[in-house]
């Protein structure tokens, strides 16, 4: 890993940023959150007002317009930011005091800078496209209005997350997107599997939240503030141990939200949600929030090599883990979900490289947002034409039936495998180069991952669009309506051209004030690395072609497969591990505690009560109502008294 000498330099760069108060268009930025939030409130409260009202007929249009309006505001602000002087591109706007007690003072504030600006565009831009697509995809769903309400809620929460000027406000958005994710994964909640998957996503995310929440508490205890900018300044005075602890706690949070090992298990199940949700939340935006958190906290990570190394390890492990799973799945959405985990692994790895990698992490995050949303929506379009079947073994030869879906999906495919010239080629290439320049093993993991990515994506492509028809009876594949294909075309164009962001290092320079900048020299010319990557990718494609393109695809998944395939199908036993380590012992613990509470603690109470009762019943026997007994008792009492007095007097 890098020596610590670079560290000081990077930290001093962050100190240069002096946020300026918002004016002009920037003082209206809160609208990007408020518009979808109000729309969500209208759509969801109206939900109780009865069916078939005007909201039911036009609610989806309101939701879509809200997302687009939010995008327009974001775009205007971005253009205005381009016009700002470089030193004045960090803009704050304090809205109101959220909570203030003693020295604990949290302001609801907007913090809009180069990083936030890119995210606002990604979230509202891709978000708007997915809203439009959903008009077609959810056309026949009786609870469409609620769906758009949840989508709007998600957009609002995600924007709170990226625009927050305080870690606690970020946490508000963080949990808000978690809620939206929960609601949307479980949207078809009459399906038990969907309800269970939704709960699982929320609970696993809460484990990650534990890290983020404790991190925020540690910030307050250490610095007396949770303001992101101030924490970044103060952390320079903190001890190594504090910086490392903060880095690791935030990483735990990032692992939950971004489905990184060891908190990856929820993402595959999350595919129970409607496909536009998978595209928006579980591919393009929400799951990348962990990467955003790490990059946003660059000042902390710059100071702790241990924390950075942990981020790299998590990223490297996850990128291989997800890719492996992607190879083994027959469910098109799960194959793509494994791929998402893997690609976020790339971003994490890059973010863990420090100032040398932050910008590339964000670059890959954006291109991935384009091409993965594109492919998920493409998968949705395929499912739409296949009666919601997700098994790729039932697909085949769809390229002629769904030409637009095929071509747009192919653009996404070429982008993700890193075909030269496509967006993913530039972004992945940069991540792998930066990884090699910093640490050979990180580079190797990223390189191998690229080959595996080419392999599994080619497999998806072949099984879906090429080969023989393997359609079930009664399925009549057809192209989706325009309302769905137009967003696909736009996203496909972005998948192709997204690499332009790197034109003359624009994105690196743009983000430099936020993330710092650093270049590590490769031991070989970059072109050599690029050539190697292209060769590895070609090998992956070739292998997939040999295995799936030249042989017939079995109609049902073969059972006699290698341990690797079996492990991949079982998500590398992630659920099994969780079950053995947490669920079963947890259930055992709760059951035994319920028992202890009933018979132990409460038993002691009732036991005491019974003892008193028994004693009283015993005493009651003395009260017989017969004069002779009382006489005897009086005699006995007097005798005792006399004897006692004698004993005292004689002693």
């Amino acid at each position: 890993m890098t020596s610590l000498s670079t560290v000081v330099l990077a930290a001093s760069e962050h100190a240069d940023v002096v946020p300026v108060a918002a004016d002009g268009v920037f003082s209206w930025l809160w609208l990007v959150v408020a518009i979808p939030a109000v729309s969500a409130a209208i759509l969801l409260i109206g939900d109780g007002a009865g069916d078939h009202g005007p909201l039911d007929r036009f609610g989806h249009l309101l939701g879509t317009l809200a997302a687009i309006a939010s995008f327009v505001v974001g775009l205007v602000a971005f253009i205005a930011l381009l016009g700002q002087d470089v030193a004045e591109r960090a803009i704050t706007h304090d809205l109101w005091t959220w909570m203030q007690v003693g020295g604990f003072d949290v302001t609801m504030s907007v913090y809009y800078d180069q990083l936030a600006a890119l995210f606002v565009l990604l979230i509202t831009g891709v978000g708007s496209l997915i809203h439009v697509y959903s008009i077609g995809y959810m056309a026949d769903d009786p609870r469409k209005r609620r769906f758009f309400g949840f989508l709007n809620l998600f957009i609002a929460a995600m924007l709170v997350l990226v625009l927050a000027g305080d870690y606690l406000v970020l946490f508000l958005g963080w949990e808000g997107v978690g809620l939206a994710s929960y609601l949307l994964i479980g949207f078809w909640q009459e399906k038990r599997s969907a309800a269970v998957a939704a709960k699982k996503a929320f609970v696993v995310n809460r484990v990650g939240d534990l890290g983020l929440a404790l991190g925020i508490m540690l910030m307050f205890a250490q610095f007396g503030t949770t303001n992101i900018h101030d924490v970044g300044l103060n952390v320079a005075n903190a001890s190594q141990g504090v910086a490392t602890a903060l880095g690791l706690l935030l990483l735990l949070g990032a692992c939950g939200k971004s489905a990184q090992v060891p908190l990856q298990s929820w993402l595959l199940d999350a595919m129970e949600g409607p496909t536009p949700v998978s595209a928006l939340i579980h591919a393009a935006t929400m799951v990348t929030a962990g990467v955003y958190l790490v990059v946003r906290s660059a000042a902390i990570y710059d100071l702790s090599e241990v924390a950075r190394t942990a981020v790299v390890v998590v990223g490297a492990v996850t990128l291989l883990y997800g890719a492996w799973i992607g190879c083994a799945k027959d469910d098109i959405k799960k194959a793509l979900a494994g791929s998402t985990m893997s690609q976020i692994g790339y971003m994490m790895l890059a973010a863990g490289l420090g100032p040398a990698g932050y910008a590339f992490a964000i670059f890959h995050l954006i291109t991935h947002g384009f091409f993965k949303a594109n492919m998920f929506l493409g998968a949705g379009s395929v499912m739409h034409g296949m009666n919601d079947d997700v098994d790729m073994r039932h697909y085949g030869a769809l390229r002629t039936m769904m030409p637009v879906t095929f071509v747009t999906f192919a653009m996404g495919y070429l982008a993700i495998i890193g075909f030269p010239g496509f967006s993913g080629f530039f972004s992945k290439d940069k991540v792998i180069e930066a990884a090699f320049a910093t640490n050979f093993w990180a580079g190797l993991a990223a390189l191998v991952g690229a080959g595996v990515t080419a392999f599994y994506m080619t497999r998806v492509m072949i099984m879906t669009f090429f080969g023989e028809k393997r359609w079930r009876e009664g399925v009549h594949p057809h192209e989706s309506p325009k309302i769905m294909t137009v967003p696909l075309i736009v996203l496909a164009a972005l998948s192709v051209g997204g690499g332009a962001l790197l034109f003359s290092s624009w994105i690196v320079d743009w983000l430099a004030p936020v993330t710092g900048e650093e270049h590590h020299e490769l031991p070989v010319p970059p072109i050599v690395i690029t050539a190697i990557i292209v060769l590895v990718v070609a090998a992956g494609i070739a292998l997939a072609y040999v295995l799936f393109g030249r042989r017939a695809i079995p109609d049902t998944a073969p059972q006699k497969v290698s341990v690797f395939t079996r492990a991949g199908r079982a998500d590398l036993y992630g659920d099994a591990v969780n079950e053995a380590l947490f669920m079963r012992p947890g259930q055992y613990l709760t059951r035994s505690l319920v028992y202890v509470d009933g018979s132990g603690i409460d038993g002691a109470v009732n036991g005491t009560a019974e003892l008193v009762g028994d004693g009283a019943r015993g005493l009651r026997r003395l009260q017989t109502g017969f004069v002779r007994t009382y006489a005897a008792e009086i005699f006995g009492g007097a005798l005792v008294l006399v004897l006692a007095l004698l004993a005292v007097n004689l002693a």
Binding site: D47, W98, G103, K199, R206, D209, M217, A221, L593
Partner: protein, 512 residues
């Protein structure tokens, strides 16, 4: 003499209770409406109190003081600080909600409908008195008197095991009360030996109490409050009481009456025995963390809706006690705010669960399934109440919980870490409950469950509005609470821990 706001506030529900009880048994509807009107008048008076309350004023405001038993130094003395006022508001907000939600709960009972609502109003009046009392003797008397209507509410109108539950509740409370009585007498003896005896809180604060005596006297108060709160292992009366009582009674019990315990801890334990409170804090903090985790784990393991909610409260009270005894302004203000919000969120949970149980005819979670499909409004409100219970940011409960945790972290990171585990367990108990009752395919035996009627929605809607409103704008209430908490902690003479990392020279104001 100034207008006796607090006495009026206390007397309105008490007189109302007498009137409602005296109404003819043959006119139950009249009794309901009368009770509702009385509770709304009380709410209005409490808002009047709020309008009279000076945020910048110090100490107890709207104070009234009259000699009661001169020989013993007993006074009728009332006054409010921000803590008491917040809890009084919580009480006056919840009572009308409970009355509307429980409109028909007493219809089939052995005792009259009028008595049911009269007992609720009586409880309201007495509890307001407890929150306002500034004389230790008056506090004790009202504290114990409040048991009487609660006992009859459980025993007279509850479900199958109401007699057992009512007796258990009474025995626990009386046992705690007895210990407190011993401490009250001990305080009087001290006061008597140091001049003219006086039960006034202000006078008792100035007594010089030896370390050892202080600790014994502290324990008498603390145990009584811990039973009420309820803290593990003194909690077992609560699930029984909550599952046997009507939903409305459960709300009054858990949301309101139990707060007397945590309220007493701040005002009397910290107020009268600062040294002993600090001395006991490590043990109390440990017990609080145990309560948080234990209550949550037991909630996960319950199959009875009401018992589950009762155990979530055990966990939540753990957070409140933790906040009080971590002795920082953040944690103690957070704990007070938590009391207010816990009142709201638990009320919503109990009441909606009550609606469900009434319609399904069973309180067993395993008897439900897929209800969301036929009762979407109920499901939506139940989910919001549940999210409040798991302290989702954006809802008021989060503000209290996070302040408790952040404050505790500055004092004891270990306790904070273990307490924070509670947020994962909370997600489990709430979402498992929601999943099992609301989601999945609709069970055939659940088809009779109908959605909430307008009356029920009217009862729950204000709670939801307040939870969301104070979730985003908690500062108005925090501004009421903060000065009172600062006063209390100044008395304990233990300052907040300073930030551990020295501040960066340019950090000051850089974000402004």
């Amino acid at each position: 003499m100034s207008f006796p706001w607090l006495t009026i506030l206390m007397v309105v529900p008490l007189v109302g209770a007498a009137v409602v009880a005296a109404l003819p048994r043959s006119r139950p509807e009249l009794a309901k409406w009368a009770a509702l009107v009385v509770s709304l008048v009380s709410l209005a008076v409490s808002l009047g109190v709020l309008s009279q309350y000076d945020l910048d004023g110090a100490g107890y405001q709207l104070a009234e003081q009259h000699e009661w038993i001169a020989a013993l130094g007993v006074h009728y003395a009332v006054g409010v600080d921000g803590i008491g006022l917040t809890l009084i508001l919580m009480t006056t907000i919840l009572v009308p909600i409970v009355i509307i939600a429980g409109w028909n709960d007493a219809d089939g009972a052995r005792w009259s409908v009028g008595t049911f609502f009269a007992l609720m109003l009586a409880l309201e009046g007495l509890v307001i008195g407890v929150f306002a009392a500034t004389d230790v003797f008056l506090f004790y008397v009202l504290f114990e008197a409040a048991l009487v209507p609660a006992y009859f509410l459980i025993g007279g109108y509850g479900g199958a095991r109401r007699s057992y539950a009512a007796l258990k509740f009474l025995m626990f409370s009386l046992a705690g009360g007895l210990l407190m009585l011993a401490s009250v007498i001990g305080m009087w003896a001290l006061s008597n030996s140091q001049g003219d005896p006086s039960f006034l809180l202000a006078d008792m604060k100035d007594l010089s109490i030896g370390t050892v005596e202080g600790r014994w006297l502290f324990m008498g108060f603390f145990i009584a409050f811990a039973v009420k709160a309820p803290m593990v292992p003194l909690h077992t009366w609560l699930p029984d009481a909550a599952s046997a009582a009507t939903p409305g009674t459960s709300v009054l019990l858990v949301s309101v009456l139990d707060k007397l315990g945590t309220f007493g801890m701040i005002r009397f334990c910290l107020g009268l025995f600062p040294e002993a409170s600090e001395w006991a804090s490590p043990v109390v903090i440990t017990l609080a963390v145990v309560s948080i985790l234990y209550g949550a784990l037991l909630a996960i393991g319950q199959d009875h809706l009401m018992r589950l909610i009762a155990f979530t409260s055990v966990s939540h009270f753990g957070f409140i006690v933790l906040g009080i005894f971590a002795l920082t302004t953040q944690s103690a203000s957070g704990a007070t705010f938590y009391m207010f919000n816990h009142g709201l969120s638990t009320a919503a949970l109990f009441l909606i669960a009550g609606f469900l149980i009434q319609r399904r005819g069973s309180a067993r979670i395993s008897d439900f399934g897929g209800v969301q499909k036929i009762a979407p409004i109920t499901a939506g409100l139940f989910l919001i109440a549940g999210l409040a219970s798991l302290s989702l940011p954006g809802l008021a409960t989060f503000v209290g919980e996070f302040l408790v945790l952040a404050g505790t972290f500055t004092r004891s990171p270990t306790a904070a870490v273990f307490a924070t585990l509670g947020i994962v367990l909370a997600a489990l108990y709430i979402l498992l409950m929601y999943q099992r009752t609301m989601t999945g395919p609709l069970r055939d035996d659940n088809r009779g469950v109908t959605d909430m009627v307008p009356r029920e929605i009217v009862a729950i809607a204000p709670v939801v509005v307040l939870l969301i409103g104070f979730g985003l704008f908690p500062q108005p209430i925090l501004d009421v609470i903060n000065p009172a908490v600062s006063d209390t902690l100044d008395h304990v003479q233990i300052g907040d821990p300073e930030p551990q990392t020295p501040s960066f020279p340019t950090a000051e104001g850089s974000s402004k």
